[in-house]
């Protein structure tokens, strides 16, 4: 088991309901492989820095999970086949996951690390 984080951008033009169902499909896929979702963030609608598939906006979703090593591959297979997914990125997670705490501001987290040392 290993921690991964995956971010994907959904096509916002397909409507809220479809977005919800796509997010659910991804999380079901992750959980279906025996992985545990540690954090599920919706960054929501954001302007893209450059157009992708002629879209200027995208709906961002971020998921941090702990799963087997073959899962990222499965995920990416899913993304590639999914036309509503504009972009995706799955990487090994290097940031420490702290339950109950939301992602901290850069300044406070670095200060906190200083105190520990």
């Amino acid at each position: 088991m290993r921690k991964y984080e995956t971010t994907f951008i959904l096509d916002p033009s397909m409507g809220e309901e479809k977005i919800e169902s796509e997010i659910k499909r991804v999380s079901d896929l992750i959980q279906g492989h025996g992985a545990k979702i540690l954090q599920n963030d919706r960054w929501g609608m954001r302007k893209l820095s450059y157009p992708i598939a002629k879209k200027n906006q995208g709906y961002y979703v971020f998921i941090l999970f702990e799963g087997e090593e073959n899962l990222p591959k499965e995920l990416e297979k899913f993304y590639v086949l999914n036309e509503s997914c504009l972009r995706f990125l799955t990487v090994k997670s290097e940031t420490e996951y702290a339950p109950e705490s939301q992602p901290k501001e850069r300044s406070t987290s670095s200060r906190g690390a200083e105190n520990l040392e």
Partner: protein, 76 residues
């Protein structure tokens, strides 16, 4: 000149003890790209090799996710 030499020595990430540069931290990464979208070189940022490498990685990931530009925006 003296100022620049002084500045060059300090890697901001080392100073702040940031061990991992996060590609999700758009505001931070924006400071390290030029107005044309290029990654600033080490001689300007003053970062150490390790952090500059991490930064480059993070910026490239950010670009892939369209959080950062590859080039300056095209005016239509």
């Amino acid at each position: 000149m003296v100022d620049e030499l002084k500045r060059r020595k300090s890697c901001r990430f080392c100073e702040q003890k940031i061990k991992i540069i996060d590609y999700k931290d758009e505001r931070l990464l924006r400071r390290y790209i030029s107005d044309r979208g290029k990654i600033l070189p080490r001689r300007i940022t003053g970062n150490c090799a390790r952090h500059q490498r991490q930064l480059t990685m993070a910026i490239k990931r950010g670009r892939h996710l369209a959080m950062l530009p590859f080039t300056a925006e095209v005016t239509r």
